[in-house]
Amino acid sequence: MTELSNPIPSKPPRSQWLDVWDQFKTHRGALLGGILFFLIVASVYLGPFLWDIDATHIDIRSRNQGPSLAHPFGTDQLGRDMMARMMAGGSTSVSVGLTAMALALVLGSFIGVVAGFFKRLDGPLMRLTDLFLALPLLPLLLVMMLLFREPLNAAFGPEQGIFILIVCAIGVTSWMPTARIVRGDVLAIKEREFVLAARSIGTSNSQLITRHILPNVLSPIMVSATLGIATAIITESSLSFLGLGFPPDFPTWGRLLFDATDYLQQHPERVFWPGIAISLTVLSVNYLGDGLRDALDPRIRGR
C-alpha cells in the first residue's frame, strides 16, 4: 500500500531562484528580450566610458554628417556626435522609463491593494483614481515645476532636480490603470480560502498583504510594469514635443526623435536611431516581462 499511496515521484528540492532561472531560460523570447535589454542598458550606461566624445560637445565644422568612422551614427545640426547623444539620451530615457514605471507601479499597486483589501477605503480610493484620470497632465506638470523645481534644484542640482520632477510627474499620472487592475485581482483573491486560512493562523493584515496577496497579483503587476516602461519613455518624448520635457542640452531619445523629425527628409538616419532604440527597448522589455511572469508563477514553472 505504501507504494500505492505515494505516487508522486520526489524530485530533489531545488532553490527557488534556480527554478525561476530554469523556467526563464526555456522561454526563448524572454531570453532574447533579456539579452537585448541588458545590451541596451549596458551600452547606454557603460558606452560613454568607451566612446569618449562628449554628447554636448559642439563641433560646428562637422555638422550634419552622415555615418562615418569618426561618427558612426553621424552628427546633428550643431555637429554633436549622434552616437554619444544616443547614449546620453538613452541613459536618461531608460532611467526615466525604469524609475517612472517603478513609481507608478508602487503607487498603483499600493492603492490597488489597499482599495481591494480594505472595503471601507475602496470607494474613496477609486474616486481618487477617477480624479487622477481626469487631471490634465500638462497643467499638473507646470504646477509641479513651479512648486518643486527650486527646492529640488537646491537639493539635487538642476539635472537631477528636473529628472526627479519629470519622473514624478509621469509616475503620478500613470498609476491608475495598475491600481484598477490590481484592485480587481485583490478583490477576487481576498475571497480565496487561503486568505481566510492565513487569518486563522494569526496572520496580521500587513503580513497578509505582503505574504499572500501581493505575490498572487504579481502577474498583472508585471504586465503593467512592462507596458509602464514603454509608456514612460513615450510620455517623456511627448513632453518634449509639447516643450515641457528635459532642458535642451539634456538629450533623451524622445527629444532626439522629436528634433530629428524636422530633418526627416534630409537626414533620415537621425530619426532612425532613436526610433529604433525606443522600439527595441519596448519590445525587449515586453518579452522580458512575459518570460518573468511565467517564471515567477510556480504553477507555470512546474509544468
Binding site: 559642439i58 545640426q77 550643431l78 507646470l142 513651479l146 527650486e150 532642458p247 535642451p248 524636422d262
Partner: protein, 544 residues
C-alpha cells in the same frame, strides 16, 4: 476682376482666436482681421505711410497736424462703404476711439491712443484727435494694422465690460477691407469671401479665402512649398536647411522682410542670487560681474554671429550689434561685431582680473566668485541650438553657463506668482526677441528707462527687463519725446541705442526677419513687416 480667381488658402500655424484686434493684440489675430477691417493709414513694405481710408496723410505742412503738435485732423476718403452697404463715416472713427479707450474694456491697443484727450467728429468725413501734450509723432490712433476702424452700428452695445459678450461681432466684424467673414471657427479656420462693397470694383481677385490655423511651422511650410495645398504660409521659423529642402520641391518660395525684431541676450544688471529675498533678488543689488564692461564685451566677442545666422535663420536673419536695427534711418553703425575672437575675449577678461585661480576651467572674479551664469530662454528649437552654441563659446572663455528653457506661455506670461517669467529675470542672462510696431521707436526706446524696471513694487510689470539704469539715457529719451522732425529723432534714437548696447544692457545677436512662403502660383505678394503681413491681400491674384 473681382472674384475671378477662385479661392486662396492661407495657413497660419498659430490659429486666430478672434477677429477683433482690440481684444487680443496677438499678431495672428491682428493679421487675420486685416483682411476685413482697415485703419485710416497703413505702412507699406518700406515703412512709409499710405492712406487707406483717409484721403491723405495729415502733416504739419498740409495743416493736418497743428503747429503745437497737439491735434491731428483726419480727412476720410469720400464714398467709402462698409461691407453691409452702409456708409463709412467719421462717427465710426470716433466710436472706434471710444471703444478702445473705455477703461473697462481692456483694449489691447490702448497705447495707440496714449495721450489722446478727445476725438471729435467734425463732420461726416472729418475727425479731430486732440492730445494732452505736444506729440511729435501723432500717428498712433487709426494708423497701422493694430488700430483699424470698427463699425459703430455693429459694436454699439459692446462697450466696456460688455465687449466679450459680443461674440458675433468679434468673430465677424463688418469692415471695409477686401473680404467679409463667412464663418469663423475660433482657433481653427476662417472662411471669407470677397466684399461686394469693396472700394475698388476690380478687387479682390479671389472670391474666397480659406484661412487655416494650427499646427507647426514645418507643416505650414510643407503645405505651401511641398504639397501645394496652401498658397501662403506665415512666419516660417525653421532651420535654413529645412527651408531649402522645401523650396527645392518647387511648389512655392520663401520671402523675407526685415522689421525691427532683434534676438538678443539680456544681461541682468541686478543680482538674481536665489539666496536674496524676493524683495532683493533681481531688484536692487548690482550683478557681481555682469556689470563690468570687460565681461559683457568679452561675452559678446566670443559669439560667432554669422554662424548663428547661418544655423538659425539663414535668409531670415542678419548679424546686428544694435537694439534697434530698423528702420534703416535709426540703425546705428557705431559697433561692429561680426567677427568672433575668443583669444581677444580671453585676453580682455584676463586683463580685467578674471582668472581661473582654481584650475576648474571656470574663471573667478577678483573677489573669488566663480563666473557661473544661468542662461534662460523660451522653448524653441532655434533658441536651444543658440543656447548650446553660446554655452560652448562662453565656456571657451572660462564662463560656465547652466541652460534653462521655459515654456513660452510661462516665460512671456506676466504671472507675478511665477518665478519663471522673463520680467522677473531670476537668471543671469536671458534670450528672446522683441520688436515694436510701426516705424517710430520712441516708446520702444522707453524700455531702457530706469523707472520701467520690473520690481515687486510694480507687480513685476515693466519693460526694462535688464534693469538698465543710466541717467544720460533717461535725459536723452526725454529730449526725444519733444523732438519733431524725422531726422533729428533718428539721430537721438541711434544715440540711445548706443548707450544701452555699449553699457551692458544687452548683447544683440541677430536681426531677425519675417520669413513667409507663398505658392509660385500666387501673385501680388508683397511682404510687409511694418504692418499686417497680408496687408495687400486685395491685390493678390492667381498666376495662370
Amino acid at each position: 476682376e473681382r472674384g475671378s480667381d477662385g479661392q486662396v488658402n492661407i495657413i497660419y500655424w498659430q490659429a486666430p482666436s478672434i477677429m477683433n484686434p482690440f481684444l487680443s493684440g496677438g499678431t495672428k489675430d491682428v493679421e487675420a482681421a486685416s483682411l476685413v477691417i482697415e485703419p485710416l493709414v497703413r505702412y507699406n513694405q518700406d515703412g512709409v505711410m499710405v492712406p487707406y481710408l483717409a484721403a491723405e496723410i495729415p502733416t504739419v505742412e498740409n495743416g493736418g497736424v497743428s503747429e503745437d503738435l497737439t491735434t491731428i485732423t483726419w480727412k476720410i476718403a469720400p464714398g467709402l462703404k462698409w461691407s453691409d452697404g452702409s456708409a463709412f463715416t467719421s462717427a465710426d472713427v470716433k466710436f472706434t476711439a471710444d471703444y478702445c479707450m473705455d477703461p473697462e474694456g481692456g483694449c489691447a491697443q490702448v497705447t495707440k491712443f496714449e495721450g489722446v484727450t478727445s476725438v471729435e467728429a467734425l463732420d461726416d468725413l472729418t475727425v479731430k484727435v486732440t492730445f494732452a501734450k505736444p506729440t511729435p509723432f501723432p500717428y498712433g490712433p487709426f494708423v497701422g494694422g493694430e488700430s483699424p476702424i470698427i463699425q459703430a452700428a455693429q459694436f454699439a452695445d459692446c462697450m466696456g465690460a460688455k465687449a466679450p459678450e459680443c461674440t458675433e461681432a468679434n468673430f465677424a466684424p463688418i469692415g471695409t477691407g477686401p473680404f467679409v467673414v463667412d464663418e469663423f471657427k475660433p482657433n481653427d479656420v476662417i472662411t471669407l469671401s470677397a466684399n461686394p462693397n469693396y472700394r475698388d470694383p476690380a478687387k479682390p481677385a479671389f472670391a474666397k479665402v480659406l484661412f487655416k490655423g494650427g499646427g507647426d511651422a514645418t507643416a505650414a511650410g510643407r503645405a505651401v512649398m511641398e504639397t501645394g495645398e496652401f498658397d501662403y504660409a506665415w512666419n516660417l521659423q525653421l532651420a535654413p536647411e529645412v527651408i531649402a529642402q522645401m523650396e527645392s520641391a518647387g511648389k512655392g518660395k520663401p520671402v523675407a522682410g526685415f522689421g525691427p525684431l532683434v534676438e538678443r541676450i539680456m544681461l541682468n544688471n541686478t543680482n538674481p542670487d536665489p539666496a536674496l529675498g524676493p524683495d532683493e533678488r533681481s531688484v536692487i543689488r548690482p550683478h557681481p560681474f555682469l556689470g563690468d564692461p570687460a565681461v559683457y564685451k568679452a561675452m559678446s566677442l566670443a559669439i560667432d554671429r554669422p554662424l548663428l545666422v547661418e544655423i538659425g535663420y539663414g535668409k531670415a536673419g542678419k548679424v546686428t550689434c544694435n537694439w534697434v536695427p530698423a528702420p534703416a534711418a535709426v540703425n546705428s553703425d557705431t559697433f561692429t561685431c561680426d567677427k568672433q575672437d575668443i583669444a581677444a575675449a580671453n585676453a580682455m577678461l584676463e586683463e580685467a582680473g578674471y582668472k581661473d585661480t582654481n584650475g576648474d576651467g571656470v574663471r573667478e572674479t577678483p573677489d573669488g566668485i566663480p563666473m557661473k551664469i544661468l542662461y534662460q530662454t523660451s522653448t524653441n528649437a532655434v533658441r536651444q541650438d543658440f543656447q548650446a552654441l553660446i554655452k560652448q563659446w562662453w565656456s571657451e572663455i572660462g564662463i560656465e553657463s547652466e541652460l534653462r528653457n521655459l515654456s513660452g506661455s510661462v516665460f512671456f506670461g506676466g504671472d507675478p506668482g511665477s518665478p519663471d517669467t522673463f520680467q522677473k529675470f531670476y537668471a543671469d542672462v536671458e534670450m528672446y526677441a522683441n520688436t515694436f510696431n510701426g516705424t517710430d521707436p520712441q516708446s520702444y526706446l522707453a524700455n531702457g528707462l530706469c523707472d520701467k524696471a520690473p520690481s515687486p513694487a510694480t507687480q513685476w510689470q515693466g519693460e526694462n527687463i535688464s534693469r538698465f539704469c543710466n541717467e544720460e539715457f533717461d535725459k536723452l529719451h526725454a529730449e526725444l519725446t519733444t523732438t519733431a522732425g524725422a531726422e533729428a529723432r533718428a539721430e537721438i534714437s541711434k544715440r540711445l541705442n548706443d548707450i544701452i548696447v555699449g553699457n551692458g544692457g544687452m548683447i544683440p545677436l541677430v536681426h531677425r526677419g519675417r520669413l513667409s512662403a507663398h505658392a509660385n502660383s500666387l501673385g501680388g505678394v508683397v511682404l510687409n513687416v511694418w504692418d499686417s503681413e497680408i496687408w495687400n491681400a486685395a491685390d493678390w491674384y492667381r498666376i495662370k
